[in-house]
C-alpha cells in the first residue's frame, strides 16, 4: 500500500505541473484587468502604471516560472520557517505570491480565512454526514415507507433548491422576523466562555444548516442506494440465517459494506470543504475561502485566483488518492501493489 501511495504521489507531480500551467495560462489569457474596478476618476495613465507595477509588463512565461517558484519553493519554505522558527537562506528577500488587490501574500490570506471556512463548511459537512447516514440506512431498510418517502422528498428539495434561496429564507425568518439569529457572521468573534460559545453556535447555525441540507441530501441518497444494493445480497440472508439479531445484521453486516462506497464519496467531497461555499459564504458574510475566490475573480486578482485554484487542484488529487487508499483499507477485495 505504501509503495502504491508513493507511486501515485510521484505520478501526481507531473499531473499537477501540467494543471498548474493550464490554470495559469487560462487565467492569464482570459480578458481581465485588475484596474477595471477602480473608479473612472483614476486616469488611464495611472492605470497603466498600476498594471506595470503588478508585473503585467513581463512576458507570460517569465511570470509563470516566477509564480511557480514562489508557490512551489518560496511559500513552502516560508511555512517551514514559521513553524520551526528557523531561518533558511535569505528569507527577508524571498518573494512570495502577492495578491494584486491586497498586495499581501496570498497564503497569509488563505490561512487567515481557513478557520471560518473549516468551522462552518467543515461542520456542515460533519453534520451532513451524521444526518445523512442514518437517514440513508433507515430509508433503505424501510424502502417505500412513509419515512423513505419523506426523506426522498426532502432530499429532492435539498438537491434542487439553491443555497442562496434557503439562505435568504432562513435570514428572513430567523433574523428579520424573529430576530433570533444574526444574519452576518462575525469572523472576529472569539469563544472565551459559555456566552460567547452560545453566540458562536448561533452565528454558525444558519450557514451550517443551509450547507448541511444540501450535502446531506446528496450523501443520504448515496447511502440509501448503497444500502439497497447490499440488503438484497445473499450474505445478508446468510447473516440472518446465522440467527443474528436484526440490528446486528443491518448495522454490522449491511452498513459496514454499504459504507465503503459512501466513505469514498465523502472523502472525495472533502476538498470542497476547503474550497468553501461561495454562495453561502457570501450570503452570511462568512468571508472564508469561497468568498476570497469570488472576490479574486471579480477583482481580476489573478495571482490569488491562480493560487487558490491550484490549491484546490492539489487537494482534489490528494483526496482522490486518499479515497482510493481508504477504499483499499475498507474493502479486503481491493489490493494495491
Amino acid at each position: 500500500m505504501a509503495r502504491y501511495a508513493l507511486r501515485r504521489l510521484l505520478i501526481a507531480i507531473p499531473t499537477l505541473l501540467a494543471i498548474s500551467f493550464i490554470i495559469f495560462a487560462l487565467l492569464d489569457l482570459a480578458p481581465s484587468d485588475p484596474t477595471a474596478n477602480l473608479p473612472l476618476t483614476i486616469p488611464p495613465e495611472v492605470r497603466e502604471k498600476i498594471r506595470l507595477s503588478l508585473g503585467l509588463g513581463e512576458p507570460f512565461v517569465v511570470r509563470y516560472f516566477k509564480w511557480l517558484e514562489q508557490f512551489m519553493i518560496n511559500e513552502p519554505l516560508n511555512v517551514l520557517e514559521q513553524w520551526t522558527g528557523w531561518t533558511i537562506g535569505d528569507s527577508e528577500n524571498r518573494l512570495r505570491v502577492l495578491s494584486w488587490a491586497t498586495r499581501s501574500p496570498v497564503t497569509d490570506l488563505i490561512v487567515e480565512r481557513l478557520p471560518q471556512t473549516l468551522w462552518v463548511v467543515g461542520m456542515s459537512y460533519v453534520i451532513a454526514v451524521l444526518i445523512a447516514v442514518p437517514i440513508g440506512v433507515i430509508s433503505a431498510y424501510r424502502q417505500y415507507s412513509l419515512f423513505d418517502q419523506i426523506g426522498t422528498f426532502i432530499s429532492m428539495l435539498g438537491f434542487s433548491i439553491p443555497t442562496f434561496f434557503t439562505g435568504l429564507l432562513l435570514i428572513v425568518i430567523f433574523s428579520v422576523w424573529l430576530g433570533w439569529l444574526p444574519s452576518i457572521y462575525d469572523t472576529t468573534h472569539v469563544v472565551r466562555d459559555w456566552d460567547s460559545f452560545v453566540f458562536q453556535v448561533k452565528q454558525m447555525l444558519m450557514p451550517t444548516m443551509v450547507l448541511a441540507l444540501a450535502n446531506a441530501s446528496q450523501i443520504s441518497r448515496f447511502m440509501r442506494a448503497s444500502m439497497l444494493d447490499n440488503l438484497n445480497q445473499d450474505y445478508v440472508r446468510t447473516a440472518r440465517a446465522k440467527g443474528l439479531r436484526e440490528r446486528v445484521v443491518v448495522l454490522v453486516h449491511v452498513l459496514r459494506n454499504s459504507l465503503i462506497p459512501v466513505v469514498t464519496v465523502i472523502a472525495l467531497g472533502v476538498p470542497t470543504i476547503f474550497g468553501g461555499a461561495i454562495i453561502t459564504e457570501q450570503i452570511f458574510r462568512v468571508n472564508g475561502i469561497g468568498q476570497l475566490l469570488i472576490i479574486g475573480i471579480e477583482g481580476a486578482d489573478i495571482p490569488l485566483v491562480q493560487t487558490l485554484t491550484f490549491i484546490f487542484a492539489i487537494l482534489i488529487v490528494v483526496f482522490n488518492l486518499i479515497a482510493d487508499l481508504i477504499y483499499g483499507m475498507l474493502d479486503p477485495r481491493i489490493r494495491y501493489d
Binding site: Y144, Q149, Q233, D234, Y235, R237, T238, A239, R240, A241, K242, G243, L244, R245, E246, V248, H253, R256, N257, I260, L330, D331, P332, R333
Partner: protein
C-alpha cells in the same frame, strides 16, 4: 398430509399452503400497484434424514420457497412447521433461537459471504452469537469445521475473495454446519461452480448428510443432479408445485405434462435411446407471476390443455402410486 417418505422417518418439516407475495411499486411516489405471486400455495413434507429435490425453471419460485421455509422472507400465508413448531408466525426472538436448527447454502458462494469478514469470523460468528462456544474452543470448532469441508484450517484468516468458487462454497457449507443444524436448504449450491467442481461439492454434501444425519431441501434446475441426490422430487411451475413423487417414479413415469416436458429435454447418455426419444417442445414464455393465467397455470403452454383447464384449477391429487399431481388429466 398423507403420504409417506421412503425413509419412513418422522416428518421434520411440514409446509402447508405456503404463499409468498411481493408488492410491486411504481410511479413517482412508489405506490404499490400489484403483487408478484412468487409462491402461491405450496405444500410438502420433508422427513428427517431425507433429501427433497425441488426443481423448476428459473423464476418459478424455488428460492423464494426455500427462503420462506427458513423464514428468510416472510410468508404471506400458510404454515411452516419445523419439528412441530410453526415458524411462520414465530416472534423474532423465538425465531432466532430456532435458527441454529435450520440453515441455508446459497447458489452464489461469492455473494453469500460477507466480503469484509475473514473466513474464520464468518464461520465463528454464529457460534459467538448463539453463545455456544468461546475462546479457544470456538477456535478449535472453526478449524474442525473447515477441516470437515476439506479446507486447510490455516486459511481461517483469509478473506473470501482469496478463494476459488469451489472453496468458497465449502466455506458456505462449513458456516451452515457450524451450529449443528438438522435441516439445510441447498439453493442451487452447485449452479455457479465449474462442472469439474460440482461433483466434489455434491459428494461432500452427501457425505455430510450421511455422517451428520442432515435433512436437505435441495433446490436445482438441473434434473440429473436432483435425480442423483434426492429421495423424492417436487416440480414447481409458476409458484405452485405441480408434481411430487419418489425419485424413481417421477423420472421413470412423469405424470404431469410439465414434468414430462422437462424430462424430455434432459439428454440421455445412451445415444440410441436419445435418438428415438420424443422431445416435447414447450411453446411460448413463462407467464408473469404478477398476473398468472386462470385455471391451470400451465395451460398457456400445455400441449394437452382443454377448455376446462382455463376454467378450473386442477386439484392437488394423490394418485394410486402415492405421488401427488395437479392436472385434470393425470392418471
Amino acid at each position: 398430509m398423507a403420504f409417506d417418505s421412503p425413509k419412513a422417518g418422522e416428518t421434520l418439516v411440514r409446509v402447508a399452503d405456503l404463499k409468498v407475495h411481493f408488492p410491486i411499486h411504481a410511479g413517482l411516489i412508489r405506490r404499490q400497484v400489484g403483487t408478484v405471486r412468487a409462491v402461491d400455495g405450496v405444500s410438502f413434507d420433508v422427513a428427517r434424514g431425507e433429501t427433497l429435490g425441488l426443481v423448476g425453471e428459473s423464476g418459478c419460485g424455488k428460492s423464494t420457497t426455500g427462503r420462506a421455509v427458513l423464514r428468510l422472507v416472510d410468508a404471506t400465508a400458510g404454515r411452516i412447521e419445523m419439528a412441530g413448531t410453526d415458524i411462520a408466525s414465530l416472534g423474532s426472538e423465538a425465531l432466532r433461537r430456532m435458527r441454529p436448527r435450520m440453515q441455508m447454502i446459497f447458489q452464489d458462494p461469492h455473494a453469500s459471504l460477507n466480503p469484509r469478514m475473514t473466513v474464520g469470523s464468518i464461520v465463528a460468528e454464529p457460534l459467538s452469537e448463539h453463545g455456544t462456544l468461546r475462546g479457544s474452543a470456538r477456535q478449535r470448532r472453526v478449524e474442525e469445521l473447515l477441516d470437515a469441508v476439506g479446507l486447510n484450517p490455516s486459511f481461517a484468516n483469509r478473506y473470501p475473495h482469496e478463494f476459488s468458487g469451489g472453496q468458497r462454497q465449502r466455506i458456505g457449507i462449513a458456516r451452515a454446519l457450524a451450529l449443528d443444524p438438522d435441516f439445510i436448504v441447498c439453493d442451487e449450491p452447485i449452479a455457479a461452480l465449474d462442472v469439474s467442481i460440482q461433483a466434489q461439492v455434491v459428494n461432500l454434501l452427501e457425505e455430510l448428510q450421511e455422517r451428520l444425519g442432515l435433512t436437505y431441501l435441495f433446490i436445482s434446475h438441473d434434473l440429473s443432479m436432483v435425480r442423483h441426490i434426492a429421495d423424492r422430487v417436487a416440480v414447481m411451475y409458476l409458484g405452485k408445485i405441480v408434481e411430487l413423487a419418489d425419485r424413481e417414479a417421477l423420472y421413470g413415469a412423469p405424470k404431469h405434462p410439465y414434468t414430462q416436458a422437462l424430462l424430455s429435454a434432459v439428454p440421455i447418455p445412451n445415444p440410441k435411446v436419445e435418438a428415438t426419444r420424443r422431445h416435447i417442445i414447450l411453446k411460448g414464455d413463462v407467464p408473469s407471476p404478477a398476473n398468472p393465467p386462470s385455471g391451470c397455470r400451465f395451460r398457456t403452454r400445455c400441449p394437452i390443455a382443454e377448455a376446462r383447464c382455463a376454467a378450473e384449477e386442477p386439484a392437488w391429487r394423490k394418485l394410486d402410486d402415492g405421488r401427488h399431481v395437479a392436472c385434470h388429466f393425470a392418471t
